[in-house]
Amino acid sequence: MAELVGLAEGIATLVRDGDVVALEGFTHLIPVRAGQEIIRQGRRNLTLVRMTPDIIYDQLIGAGCARALVFSWGGNPGVGSLHRFRDAVSNGWPVPLEVEEHSHAGMANRYVAGASGLPFAVLRGYAGTDLFRHTANLATVTCPFTGEVLTAVPALRPDVTIIHAQRADRAGNVQMWGLTGVQKEAVLAADRSLVTVEEIVDALEPRPDAVVLPGWTVSAVAEVPGGARPSYAQGYYDRDNEAYRAWDAISRDRDTFTAWLEALAA
């Protein structure tokens, strides 16, 4: 059963140096506060996994938490590039960053395979692209019935997956709604999981477009109001576009970024 914990305690017990860590949330319900707690606790040599690394991953990379990034689209949505990500890839600052990149379809299916207890997934994807030349984790598989050749991607099984949801009850049952992306698969694929929520309630009343993760499938739940800011939490708050634009200025320059990082630690 999921334990109810504080955010600091949850990160301290669940995220270890060298772990493969997935923070998911497809532009909605992004676990920003949990990611910043990883920075505060100074985790190192993480393999960070995320379909859409955006500013929270730019922060983790700039803070030197990551040795590798597995992803399918990296950018500051609606604003531009991730400067810390670029600096790490191009100049190895503050530490070199290995990159393994896929398409969204490939990443989504890698989580599906992980959640399904399968070693790989099959899809129509990547055909004819240079991803096949640069991404080691790709192969082909032949349909035993038709002889057709398809693409295979290996299962993703993070050591720990972290997501943000709207609600949990005291038994640790988690409820999220709206655009819930790949979060269910990412949690079910992981060894351990932490869910930050806007609020812990006595009972989860059923509602439209809701996904529920039973408490026994989650390691820990932490109540972190505003935990997805500056991204959205449907029913709680909208996206703070200004913060995304501001990040562009902060992250462009190593010094302004370093100042931001010190302020975060303080």
Binding site: G75, V89, S90, H102, S103, E148, L179, Q234
Partner: protein, 248 residues
């Protein structure tokens, strides 16, 4: 009446969307064009966002594909794996919109790196949904600025396949969609030659000239015998577009 290059591009793309077409849209110009078409001549256009909104009917332009407005107005909200596996992959979606930092004469697209992959001059966002959108949508529309930096002889990285190295490539690769059928730039419109699959300039926007188009293209640009002029944006098109953009 005057308009911006971006307005001309958006209106031109919107005009190409008709009827009950289902349309896989990202954020930015494609989303603006698709939402404009819904307000103009294609009220039944089905907008599909990769974030899981099937049949979204946003009352304003979404700020990002995670905008709650998309979920709240959608016919169905599904998971991201389902969007790609049940909706995009089988070829259910009529039109997919893409852009790119580089494209070549066969409309192969690069959104990954400029320069060497291991030591890039510019690290771009990467593939996202593009490779499978380019592979599986029945047709692909491209929208991008017409510059020599973008229209190159050879892309530095093939992120998404257009027509590969020409006729037969898509078939050999097992790509089931028809590929890019329309490229809308700030100078004009390009379409693949039915035989060679090479992008061919078929229309120039009002005020644009052929010399500019050639100068902005990194290869010897093919031009249609019956090169036409794109009809200028109407007052209605511009009014609706500007209201839409202002409302965002």
């Amino acid at each position: 009446m005057t308009w911006t290059a971006e307005e001309m591009m958006t209106v031109t793309a919107a005009r190409a969307l008709t009827g009950h077409t289902s349309c896989f849209v990202g954020i930015g110009l494609p989303s603006t064009a698709a939402n404009l078409a819904r307000r103009l001549h294609a009220p039944n256009l089905v907008l599909i966002y990769e974030s899981g909104a099937i049949g979204a009917k946003p009352t304003r332009l979404p700020l990002s594909i995670g905008d709650g407005e998309l979920a709240l107005t959608a016919d169905a909200v599904v998971s991201v794996p389902e969007v790609f596996n049940y909706w995009l992959q089988p070829g259910r979606i009529d039109v997919g919109f893409l852009s790119a930092a580089q494209l070549d004469r066969f409309a192969n697209l690069n959104t990954t790196v400029i320069g060497d992959y291991r030591d890039p001059t510019v690290r771009l966002p990467g593939a996202g949904g593009a490779p499978e959108i380019a592979a599986s949508c029945r047709e692909v529309f491209l929208m991008l600025r017409h510059t020599r930096r973008a229209f190159v002889e050879k892309v530095d990285f093939i992120t998404s396949v257009g027509f590969g190295d020409g006729p037969g490539s898509r078939e050999r690769l097992g790509l089931r969609g028809r590929g890019p059928v329309l490229v809308v730039t700030d100078i004009g419109v390009l379409q693949p030659d039915p035989d060679t699959r090479e992008l061919t300039l078929t229309s120039l926007h009002p005020g644009a000239d052929l010399a500019a188009a050639r100068a902005a293209t990194g290869w010897d640009l093919a031009v249609a015998a019956d090169l036409t002029e794109t009809p200028p944006p109407t007052g209605e098109e511009l009014d609706l577009l500007r209201a839409l953009v202002k409302g965002a």
